[in-house]
């Protein structure tokens, strides 16, 4: 690894990615790469409790501390309890902090109540075995005495009556007397949720049936869709079972703390503010990049690979302010994706283009299991390795990904081609580096130069607008990590 780069997240054996043996070189190993720390760019980034010298002990301590303030009286002697989790939580920092938070919730509830049975029900996205893989990798099946399962959106449903009619949850999520909502505050899919009811979203997604998820992505609109989760959470059915929420509070640098509350909307306000404050600056800074080659190099599907705690999908839309609710349509959402005709022309003039600063994508390592052809269709893409190309062509969600992407046999060859054809030496690597991001020297310098102005712009102009659009009192800003 060149001096100055941060070790990337290692490849992970999974049925959704090529075998790690085929990942023969990482982007961070290329000549000309260095790193830039989050602290250099954004001085007011909050301190993190993980990663730290204390390891996951800090997560257990923070979880116990916050849970001590939660009212557990809904859990009565003999109650069954489902701890509801989501697969995304396991993608942070190798999944260790999230797994520890889940273990701690279990232990705390077992110690403080006379619950009969405490189970882990982990929702998932489009890779129906991914959560199973995490459960096994972190020993959660043993920890929950065999009562830990992944629940897929095509599993048995349960109708839920809401303010907008019948929606459908997953029966296994709700087959207990009490449910505990165990999630994280990572901004992640801000292109979808727009930081509106971020903390509520899993009720319309991870814990929901196919019909409900499809409602979110097709029926209501890119901003209105976020009402789906609220309508389910507010339903008599869910309120009758809801106990409390416990969130791992994230910043681009890691885990800031753990926050629990019986009142999900109070927690949601804190999550909303913290997310805009801690992620708003780094995403806005990415939007300043004028040209670059992006390297995808992380064990996740294409849009979910990380750099500086921010996913690639955020970079795809960074040419538009994703937090600004006056912008109807981000450059990438599943609504946007459908609004190009069969000749690639947008159906309306308000359809924004994919971030034109991304001149070429070098796909060194990223998974299938998410429809990703849109990315290859809109940005020149070079996939490294014939095995990876073949892997994509077998995936039912990516049968046309390789129709648009080129293939190179090795990373260096892909980069040589990218340098020659784009004529830029700015490189941004989405490889899960912790505490900063791996970039080329030229991009590091660019980011250091631009960061102070971006920080000022976000603090003085954007944050007040974002908060006002969500009717959030700006005085809460200093109370949130």
């Amino acid at each position: 690894m060149p001096r100055g780069t941060i070790p990337p997240a290692p490849p992970r054996k999974s049925q959704y990615g090529v075998d790690p043996q085929f990942v023969t070189m990482r982007g961070a190993e290329l000549d000309g790469m260095t790193s830039v720390s989050l602290g250099e760019l954004i001085p007011d980034m909050p301190p993190v409790i993980f990663p730290s010298d204390r390891g996951v002990a800090s997560i257990r301590e923070a979880t116990e501390e916050t849970l001590a303030r939660v009212d557990l009286s809904k859990i009565r002697p003999g109650s069954t309890v489902n701890i509801l989790a989501s697969h995304h939580g396991f993608t942070f920092l190798k999944g260790e902090p999230y797994a520890e938070m889940l273990r701690t919730i279990r232990d705390f509830v077992e110690t403080r109540t006379e619950a009969k049975e405490i189970r882990l029900r982990a929702g998932l996205g489009m890779r129906f075995r991914e959560t199973e893989e995490y459960i096994k990798a972190h020993g959660l099946d043993r920890y929950f005495n065999g009562k830990a399962i992944g629940v897929a959106p095509i599993d048995e449903g349960v109708p839920i009556e809401t303010k907008i009619g019948t929606l459908y949850g997953l029966r296994k999520m709700y087959d207990a007397d009490v449910i505990i909502h165990a999630h994280n505050s990572d901004v992640r899919e801000v292109h979808f949720h727009r930081q509106v009811d971020r903390a509520v979203k899993p009720f319309g997604m991870s814990y929901a049936r196919t019909e409900t998820r499809s409602t979110y992505h097709w029926n209501l609109g890119p901003r209105a869709a976020n009402f789906v989760a609220r309508s389910i959470f507010d339903s008599d059915f869910v309120q009758g079972k809801y106990g409390f929420s416990c969130f791992m509070i994230m910043s681009p640098g890691g885990v800031v703390t753990v926050d629990a509350d019986n009142d999900l909307y109070a927690l949601n306000d804190r999550v909303t503010i913290g997310g805009m404050k801690n992620y708003g600056k780094i995403i806005t800074l990415m939007g300043e990049i004028d040209e670059c080659i992006v390297i995808l190099d992380f064990p996740c599907p294409v849009p979910y690979v990380f750099a500086a705690g921010v996913i690639y999908a955020n970079m795809v839309g960074a040419n538009v302010d994703l937090f600004d609710l006056d912008n109807p349509l981000p450059p990438y959402t599943w609504y946007t994706e459908t609004y190009y005709d069969d000749r690639g022309r947008p159906l309306a003039d308000f359809v924004p283009p994919v971030n034109p600063a991304i001149r070429t994508v070098v796909h060194n390592y990223a998974w299938t299991g998410y429809p990703s052809a849109f990315f290859a269709e809109h940005t020149p893409t070079i996939v490294v390795g014939q095995e990876q190309a073949a892997h994509f062509s077998r995936d039912p969600m990516n049968l046309s990904y390789m129709r648009y992407a080129l293939t190179a046999n090795e990373l260096k060859a892909a980069m040589d081609f990218a340098y020659r054809t784009t004529r830029t030496d700015k490189v941004l690597i989405f490889d899960g580096a912790t505490g900063g991001m791996n970039v080329s020297f030229s991009l590091a310098e660019f980011l250091r130069n631009r960061a102070p102005a971006v920080v000022r712009h976000v603090d003085r102009e954007l944050m007040p607008k974002w908060l006002a659009q969500r009717s959030i009192d700006a005085s809460l800003l200093n109370l949130v990590a």
């Binding site: 959106p153 907008i164 097709w218 159906l347």
Partner: protein, 203 residues
Amino acid sequence: MKTVNVHARVNMDLCKGCKNCERVCPVYAVKVTRDGKQVRVDINDGLCVGCWNCEQRCPEHAITMVSCEPYTLSTDVTSVDYEQVVELCRKAHFHPKQVVCYCTASRAEELAAAILKGASSPDAVVRATGIGAGCGIECNQPILRFLEAAGKTFERRKKSHQWYGRTATAWEVPEEVRRKYPVFRFEEDLEMFETIVNSPVNR
């Protein structure tokens, strides 16, 4: 349009006959029967759309997907009256040229054409177009909205975990909800939909 390049195969040494595969198949291509302790699984390759649902949800890892001679699931839009296609798309609140399935990049016009040519249930639409044979999640509502717009009713198979029902659209959000929750921008998103749906159709 979807190219099918895999079919499902069951290892009966591992299968315990739980019927999960049967319940998650969007086109009812799997039939599990039991005669005493003897379990039998029949997968109809003629119906299979290569979606991987059965493989992904088998708790015993008894199903594998094997390569098959590729073939396409598609409906030729030019084989129907395009004016009827446009009419049905608009009735379902879609633009004929917009994508309705992220995995196959199939367009609304193909979905409409399949229904106009006789597909009258969700599984028939999937078989006629390949729409719904990718992730198996997201295009659920477009399929159900089109069938309803065409006046097609179908009975859900009760033992199946598929096709629970159509849900609310932007056109049906109650007025009191729109007024009470302005942060969700219901009116503006509805306006955006209307602009897309009514955009000119360039063939």
